[in-house]
């Protein structure tokens, strides 16, 4: 397969963030600020049915009663929610009959990011939904996927064309008022991807969404919903980049996954939002709620994430293990360099019998980076025979960074087994010297040691994504060895 973040096109030798360019697109932007009128305006722009607007308004009214959470182990100035643009969309030159008619400037932007939206291009094994600012600008391979009954489209299209599915599942995994940012997203979400894999279908290609923030001062609030019917399988990839700016931009997404009996969803993320500069100016606030529900028996949901970008990453992709014998997995590499902060981990909620979860978290801190693992393993009294294994490891490069671990374990069933392992290590001078004595440069040695540290997670990624992730880590770490 090929990937959304193609490697050949890019030169990884530069130290600077390479996706920091801005494309001059003719963009439809609404005024800054948030109110019921803005929510109505977004809904109207998207030509939504009344039930969708009602759903948004309920979320908005809920959000008004909620407070910005401050319990996470990150620091940032208060966000002024009236100073954000909630809707920005590249103006389509006309109604698109096919992908060939996508604005050439948009296509050029994605080409520059290494993603070909041309179906004849190299991306023969991956279907891509490309999202710029608030809207989806194109989805590849829709027709081919439709042959096997797979629906893969933008969220907006799903609301129009598959309202029964959206109504049935939207908010069932992440309720409107789940948390402050999920409520905000529910009120103002503008687009996202929608996937539906019918009963017994093994999705013939990787599905992926590529998120791009382009316009200044906008927030990106997208929503992804993936439904895997009985006995189906899908592997889904997600990549993200944004221009370099001195101000912070908010990305508050919600992702919901539903796996029914014997279904399996594999969700991989390589997150490379602009991290801010070396002094800590600018960068994306990546405040995301991701959750999957193993609703059916023997179902399985795996989250694999490689988080190298963003000024602040705050997310806990979790799994609700409702079906008996269902399996939840979380594999994470989070890297914080310069002044980046990350508070990330997972939530595994065991409800069904003999449910199993595995958590492997690898945190790397360099420069002044602060990296926190926060994980909840909750075993309800119904979850007889439940098992969890958690391993969270931290690697420190240099003396100004930090690693923190906050495991929360709640066990209400005496037959459950929960294991937690954690260790912190430094890239020792001994390791570095050993490599250098063998002729390997310090920079290559650090990259090799870090990649070795992450190997357990990288092997869970689709192959080309894994290659990409390794390169991304090397680039993010350049200059970390002094």
């Amino acid at each position: 397969m090929t990937n959304v973040l193609s490697s050949e096109v890019r030169e990884f030798a530069t130290k600077e963030y390479q996706y920091g360019f801005v494309t001059d697109l003719d963009t439809d932007v609404i005024p800054k600020g948030l109110s019921e009128d803005i929510v109505r305006m977004i809904s109207k722009k998207k030509n939504e049915p009344d039930w969708m607007l009602e759903w948004r308004l309920k979320a908005y009214r809920g959000w008004l009663t909620m407070k910005n959470p401050r319990w996470q182990n990150v620091e940032y100035a208060p966000i002024d929610y009236q100073d954000i643009i909630y809707y920005a969309a590249p103006k389509p030159k006309k109604v698109l009959a096919s992908l060939d008619e996508v604005d050439p400037d948009v296509l050029a932007m994605f080409d520059k990011l290494g993603i070909s939206l041309a179906e004849q291009g190299r991306l023969s094994g991956v279907a891509v939904d490309a999202i710029v600012d608030s809207v989806s600008v194109g989805t590849t391979f829709k027709a081919k996927l439709a042959e096997v009954g797979v629906i893969f489209c933008s969220f907006s299209e799903a609301v129009q064309n598959h309202p029964e599915l959206v109504k049935k599942y939207l908010g069932t995994v992440v309720p409107r008022r789940d948390n402050f940012f999920a409520a905000l997203n529910s009120a103002v979400f503008t687009d996202g991807s929608f996937c539906y894999i019918p009963k017994g279908v093994r999705c013939p290609m990787e599905l992926s969404t590529y998120f791009r923030i382009n316009t200044a001062d906008t927030g990106q609030f997208e929503r992804t919903l993936i439904i895997a019917e009985e006995g189906s399988y899908v592997s889904y990839l997600e990549g993200c980049t944004a221009p370099m700016r001195d101000t912070n931009q908010l990305h508050a997404a919600v992702v919901e996954l539903v796996a029914l009996d014997n279904a399996q969803i594999k969700y991989s993320t390589v997150q490379n939002w602009y991290p801010g500069d070396a002094q800590g100016r600018g960068g994306i606030y990546n405040f995301v709620t991701k959750r999957g529900k193993c609703a059916g028996v023997n179902s399985k949901i795996s989250w694999t994430q490689v988080e190298t970008g963003s000024a602040i990453t705050w997310k806990y992709p979790g799994v609700i293990l409702q079906g008996d014998n269902s399996v939840g997995e979380f594999y994470s590499v989070a890297l914080t360099a310069n002044h980046q902060q990350a508070d990330t981990g997972t939530k595994m909620i065991h409800i069904g019998r003999n449910t199993r979860s595995t958590i492997v978290s690898k945190a790397i801190s360099a420069g002044h980076g602060q990296n926190t693992y926060r994980g909840l393993v909750k075993i309800l009294d119904s979850a007889s025979g439940a098992r969890n294994h958690t391993q969270c490891d931290s690697l420190l490069l240099g003396g100004d960074c930090g690693a923190h671990t906050f495991p929360y374990i709640e066990v209400k069933n005496s037959t459950a087994q929960v294991e937690h392992e954690a260790y912190t290590s430094k890239i020792g001078e001994d390791q570095l010297f050993y490599c250098r004595q063998r002729g390997i440069s310090a920079e290559d040695a650090v990259s090799m040691i870090v990649n070795g540290f992450c190997r357990e997670v990288f092997k869970e990624l689709p192959m080309e994504f894994a290659v990409e992730a390794q390169k991304l880590l090397s680039v993010s770490l350049e200059g970390s060895v002094g």
Binding site: G428, E429, D430, Q431, F433, Y434, C435, R436, Q437, R438, G439, I440, S441, A442, D444, M448, I449, N451, G452, F453, C454, R455, E456
Partner: protein
């Protein structure tokens, strides 16, 4: 002359450990450096390999070049190899991958094409046989979970892959049982040759039953106090370091 050390001093945290070492080693020679614990033998090895924590003065010429001016990786590329007393573990990095990365780094430095994975596999198989290492060690992480003897064999394996001109073996015999010692020595002996010099640092004479040195030096209190042929090692065995240093 392959290696010329003149009045080499090294200290760490104000504590002088090497106090004027003088030594000359020709290509093809094997020199043993023997001495009690804490005499500075390992420091000498580390300083020659380029460990940066030491304050160093004096002169070291390697093939006529100023060795002390080179970074550790440049020394390695120039053919200096240190078999570590305590080889480090590198979790998640495959042993074979590590050896190939090292070889290719050295080759690149010397203007040679990198060796591809298939050719390297053949080379590695052959060199592993030298030290009777099982092929299962190829895919294991570098030194992770290796026994003491396995780590030492792995050092000699890496040496055999890199084919250095100057090999420094720092207490390669420590912690080895007699069988492992024989295997390691057999690997070392296979690499003895015209163009290659070796500095074998050891505390005990027994290694020298297997690796017979051309010259033996006695190291005490940060310098070489006596040099002689292989019989000096036997004399040491009989009289102990105290007896030799006093004589």
């Amino acid at each position: 002359m392959m290696l010329q050390i003149e009045n080499l001093h090294a200290s760490i945290g104000g504590n002088e450990i090497l106090k004027g070492v003088n030594l000359e080693v020709r290509a093809g020679e094997v020199h043993a450096i023997m001495g009690p614990n804490g005499s500075g033998k390992s420091t000498l090895a580390q300083v020659l390999a380029g460990r940066e924590n030491y304050e160093v003065s004096g002169r070291v010429l390697y093939e006529g070049k100023d060795l002390l001016a080179l970074s550790p990786e440049d020394r390695a590329a120039a053919g200096v190899f240190l078999a570590f007393q305590y080889p480090v573990e590198i979790p998640g990095v495959g042993n074979l991958y590590f050896a190939r990365t090292a070889l290719n780094a050295v080759r690149r430095h010397n203007g040679l094409e990198p060796i591809d994975a298939m050719d390297f596999l053949a080379l590695a198989r052959e060199r592993m046989r030298l030290v009777e290492m099982d092929e299962s060690f190829m895919s294991r992480s570098v030194n992770e979970g290796f026994s003491g003897g396995e780590k030492k064999r792995n050092e000699i394996f890496q040496m055999a892959v890199l084919e250095p001109k100057l090999a420094i073996l720092d207490e390669t015999d420590s912690g080895l049982d007699i069988d492992a010692l024989r295997v390691v020595a057999q690997g070392v002996n296979a690499l003895r040759g015209e163009g290659r010099a070796m500095l074998v640092i050891t505390h005990y004479q027994r290694l020298l039953d297997y690796i017979v040195p051309d010259v033996v030096h006695v190291f005490a209190d940060g310098r070489i106090v006596r040099s002689g042929d292989k019989d000096l090692a036997l004399e040491l065995e009989e009289h102990g370091y105290a007896g030799i240093a006093a004589s």
